[in-house]
C-alpha cells in the first residue's frame, strides 16, 4: 500500500517537470507564417550574392535591415523565375509599391540598441556568427512569437532551458555580454541602452 503512496510525489514531480519543460514552451510561443516564402539559398548560391548586397548600409553607415520592396524591384520588377512566391511578390507588392510585412526573427527590444556597423564593418564579425545558416536556407522558418513579450523566439533561443544551443543561437543580453567578454570588448550599459 505504501509503495503506491510513494508514486504520488513522483507523479507530481513528473507533472511539474513536464509542465515546465514541455507544456510551458508550447503555450508560450505562437507560431506565425511569414507573408511570403523566400529562398536565401537561391540568392546566395545560385545568384552568387553576398548578404550585404541586400542587407546593406546606407550613406551614413546605418544598417538598413531588410531591403525595401523598391530595392528588390531593381531585379524583380518583373517575374524572373517560376515560383508562386515570386509571382505573388511581384503582383502584390512590387506592382502596388507596398512593403512586405516581414516578421523579423532578430528584432531586438526597443530599449536595446545594436549597431551593425560597429560589429560587421568595424569588428569584422561574420553574419553567421549571430544569424547562423539563415542565409543558406531555402525556406523561411515559421516565426515563433513570445505571447508575453511579443518578441521572436530567436532572441531567447530554440531551447527553453538555453542548454545545448548552437553558438549563434540566442540574442539575449547575456549572449552579447559573453561575446564581449570573450573578445575583451567594452561592455558599458550605455553602449546598448541609450
Amino acid at each position: 500500500m505504501n509503495r503506491f503512496r510513494v508514486l504520488f510525489p513522483l507523479a507530481g514531480l513528473l507533472v511539474g517537470l513536464t509542465a515546465g519543460w514541455v507544456l510551458f514552451p508550447a503555450l508560450l510561443y505562437r507560431t506565425e507564417e511569414q507573408p511570403l516564402q523566400f529562398s536565401h539559398a537561391v540568392h546566395t548560391d545560385t545568384g552568387g550574392m553576398a548578404c550585404a548586397d541586400c542587407h546593406s548600409f546606407d550613406a551614413d553607415g546605418r544598417f538598413v535591415g531588410i531591403p525595401t520592396t523598391a530595392q528588390c524591384a531593381s531585379c524583380h520588377a518583373d517575374v524572373m523565375g517560376e515560383t508562386e512566391n515570386e509571382k505573388r511578390f511581384v503582383e502584390e507588392y512590387v506592382k502596388t509599391n507596398r512593403e512586405v510585412p516581414w516578421k523579423v526573427y532578430a528584432r531586438q527590444p526597443d530599449n536595446a540598441y545594436f549597431p551593425h556597423a560597429a560589429h560587421v564593418t568595424r569588428g569584422g564579425i561574420a553574419c553567421e556568427r549571430c544569424h547562423g545558416p539563415h542565409g543558406t536556407m531555402n525556406t523561411l522558418r515559421p516565426y515563433q512569437v513570445n505571447r508575453i513579450t511579443g518578441y521572436s523566439r530567436d532572441i531567447w533561443g530554440s531551447s527553453i532551458g538555453r542548454v545545448g544551443m548552437e553558438p549563434w543561437e540566442g540574442m539575449k543580453m547575456d549572449d552579447c555580454v559573453r561575446c564581449h567578454r570573450e573578445t575583451e570588448r567594452a561592455r558599458a550599459c550605455l553602449d546598448c541602452h541609450k
Binding site: 510525489p9 513522483l10 514531480l13 511539474g16 517537470l17 509542465a19 510551458f24 514552451p25 527553453i160
Partner: protein, 673 residues
Amino acid sequence: MPLTRRDILRFAGAATAGIVFSPLPWKMLDDVAIWTQTGPWIPKVPRGPISHVPSICSVCPAGCPVTARCVAGVPSSLRAASGSGQPLCPIGLTGHHLAYHPLRVAGPCLVEHRGEKVLTTSLSLDEALRRLPSVDGDRSVMIVDQRPGRAISDRYRAFVRQHPGSFYAVPDDDASMRTVGYDLERAHTILAVSTPLLDGWTTPARTARLIERRSKNDGLRILAADAARSRTATLADRWMPIRPGSEAALLVALLHLAHAHRQPDMTPSMRAIIERTTPERVAAAIGVTPVQLRHVYEKLTERGPSLVVVGGDGSNSVDAETDRLAFQLNRALGAASNGAIRQRPAIPVSEGLRERDLAVATPLSSVPDASVALVIIDGDEGTCHLSWESIVRTLHPGASIVVSLSPVLTALASHADLIIPSPAPFESFGEATGDGTDIACRYGVSRPLHPRRPGSVDPELVLGHLSGQVIEHEAALRDKVAGIWASRRGQIRTPDGSTTNLTSVEGAGSLWTALSEGAVWTLEGAPASASVRALESDASATDRLAARLSELAAGGATSTIAVVPTTWAPVTSCSRLSPLMTKLYQESGLRPTSEVAAVAPATAHACGVEDGAVAELRAGEQSSKVKVRVSDSLAPGMVQLSAGPDPVGFRSPEPPAVANALPRGRAAELRKS
C-alpha cells in the same frame, strides 16, 4: 486505496518542486520584466525610413537652427543645424519631447479647484467657445501675450484696438527687454549684474562665442556682481559679492563715478540722486568697499567697448528702474555711441495690417485693477515670469472669466476657468521672434514635425470666435512673412550658413519657402540713442528709486537672512522642458528647484539647520518647507532658492510658494522644521 489529503499535498508539493526545477519560473520572470517595458501603455518607437528635416527651434523665441532626425516621419532627435555653427541648449535638444509632456491638456476643459486638487472636465470645442463672453463696451478683454511679435500677436493687437477699454498686455520684463539689445560680441569688458551671462541668459550660440573668446584670451574681460558665486561668477575674471537687492545702488554709484549727473539731458531729480550717491555713501549697503567700486569702474573704462548687463533669464529679471539705470550707465560708458547697445527693431506687422491700427503693448503691471471681464492668456509661462497674482488683480470683481490657451497644465493654466489648449511645439507651424538680449530682431518658422494631437486648437480660432473674423494659423503666418517681405529690409540666413539680402528674394512665397525650410530672417538694430526717451525715468520712478536707496542705506530689513532668488526659466516652469531633463536636473541637483534652499555654512549653523535637513523658510505671512543645502558659494546671511511661477511643476498646483512672491533681497527667516 483511498486518496487522502496528504497524498494530494505530496503530489502538489512535488509538482511545484518539478516546476521550480524547470525554466518556467525563471523564464516567466524574464518575460514579465520585458512585458512591463513593452505593454500597450508604453509609447512605441516608430520604425521606418529616416529623414533629416531642417527647421528652427521654436520652443523659445531665440529660434536656433535645428535639424530634426525623423524616423517614419516622427522626430527622434533634434540637433543644431550643421551650417549654423551654433550649439543647442538642453531645452532645444529635447524640444521634440514636449508633445508627450505628461501635463498635456487633451482638449478644451473646465478647471475646478477642490482643496489642493485641480480637476478638469472635458468640453467640446463648441461648448468651450460658447462659454466665452461677448466683448462689448461694458465688457473689456485683456489678452496676455507671452510671446509678442508673432503673427497672432498682430491679430490680438488689431482686435484690442477695435475694442476700446481692452488691453493687449505683455509681461513687464518682456516689454523692457525688447527695447535695447546688447552687442556682446563687440564688447571687451562686460559687467554682469545679477545676471547669468554665461549660464542661460542669452542664446547658446552667443554664450559659446563668449566662452570661446575667454578661452582664446582675446581680451574679453567679464566682471560679475552677484550675491552668490554663480556659474557666471565662477568663470568671470572678477566676482564682486553684493547684497541681494542692491543692484540699483551699485549702478547709481557707478553712474556717479561716470559723472553721469553732468549729462545735460538728465532730469534734475535723477541728477540729484546720482550726485549724492557717492561710493562711500552706499558701499556698505551694497556689501562692498568704496575701493572695490572704484576698481570695477576703472576696469569698465580701461578697455572698451564696455557693457553693463542686468536682468535674469526671463523669470528673474530686475525691475524696470534698475533696467533704466543700466541703460544710463551704458550710455555714460559710451555703449550707445560705439554700438555696443542698440535699439532692437520691431518685426514688421502682418500684411493687410498697419502699425497705426494696432494696439500698443501694455506692461501687465500697468493694467488697472479690477478692469477686465475676460482674460485670455496666450501660451504657457515657459519663457517669462508671470504670476497668477499679476493676473487676478486685473479681474473685474463681478463675472469674469480667465481662459488659458496653454497646451500643458501649467501653474497659470491651473488657475484659469477654462483651458482651450493650443498645439505643443512642433505640432503645428511655430514662430521664433528672436532673443530679447540680441541687437537684431529675427523671425523664423518651425515646421510641424509631430502629428497633431486631437483636441488642440489654434489661438487664431479662439480669436476668430471673438472677433468674427476667422483666419487659419498657417495663413496668419504667411501674412506675417508677406509683411516682412514687403519691408524689404534685413537678410535671411539659410541652415547651411549662407546669407541673402531680402531684396534678392523674389516674393513672399519664396521667403515663406525659405523660412519653412529652416532659414531665419534677421534685421540688425540701429544705434540706441534713439531709444533714450523710452528708457528715461519718469518722476515717479525716480521717487521710487530714491526711496529704495534710502531704505538700503538705512540698513534695509531687520531680518538676519536675505533671499537670493535664482532661476533658470525651464526649471521654474516645467512646460518648456522635457520631463527627461527635469528628472535629470532634479536628481543631479544641477538645477535645484524651490524645494532646495542653499545657505552658507555659518548661516546654517546660526539657524540650527544641517545639510539635508527640512527647514521652514518664512517671509512675512508666507512660509515654505525647504530642504537645506549647505553651500559655500553664498555669503553668510543669505538663502538662495529658485523662484518662478511653478518651480517644481509636477506638484499639484497650489498657491505660490514663498519663493514665488519674494523680490530680490526680501528678508526672511530660516528655522528647523
